[in-house]
Symmetry: C2
Subunit: 142 residues, 2 copies
Amino acid sequence: MKIGELARRSGLSAHTIRYYERIGLLPYADRDRSRQRDYDASILTWIDFLGRLKTTGMPIREMLRYAALRENGSGTEAERRLLLERHREHVRARVAELEACLLVLDTKIAGYADIEKRIEDHDAHQRTRRNQQAGARQAGSR
Amino acid sequence: MKIGELARRSGLSAHTIRYYERIGLLPYADRDRSRQRDYDASILTWIDFLGRLKTTGMPIREMLRYAALRENGSGTEAERRLLLERHREHVRARVAELEACLLVLDTKIAGYADIEKRIEDHDAHQRTRRNQQAGARQAGSR
DNA sequence: CATTGACTTAGAGTGCGCTCGAACTCGTAG
DNA sequence: CTACGAGTTCGAGCGCACTCTAAGTCAATG
């Protein structure tokens, strides 16, 4: 698979794939006879996992640490696990934080809903009064 | 309250407070006789809410829209409500996304835990074998 | 009256994570 | 044979949200 296809299938741009290789997030890719990168489909699994780390806010610095451990192969599992466990705690904390903010947003939105409701009631009241006055005029004009 | 105290109480730096005023996130603050900003405690409520928007990933551009509506006072409630409701949906989606990632992390971590357990079992087995051999040697030497 | 320390402004610099441009090389189709 | 499209490298540029520097003002304190 060449870089263009990998880009399409991974959702990254070819620019980004080269950038990731340059900084060491992706392993140095084998090149074909004309020095073009030739990828194995298995790289997609890794890119997908990197995407999860990125989505959950892991900085590239830390992804690099993980990628380096992975390159070193067996013997680094305990450290990789520790890294992911620490990251998982960050993510859990982040979810809790967002949920707390959601409560604040709910309250704020409910407040605006109240204001709008009061305005509607007020308008309805005004209409009723105008209708009553119109009715009174009609009644008087008979 | 001067900027230093507001910085301490809000958690923002004085630099950031001035920056926020410059771009319009914070209203232009009244100055005292020596042109220093003089804040009312009520600004803390606004800064706190801005913090919630920021924490939940709202870009400054959008906070500016909200701040501008707020400055325009009454009559903008419906639009402010809409803006917050849209943002709330973004946040909910984000929480769902993070929770999906947490499942992936759980699986990955469990995988590493398995590997480590297998290694431990293997080591224990090796130790048992060595002990048995040592026992056999001792028995033979008696 | 001199110093200290918190404040003022305008504008430059930083860190992150890409993103793009320029100039080039290949392999294939017309 | 040449034109095209997809690839290559290297390095510059960008958007975001600050963060800091320099040079200056001011009020209070020793």
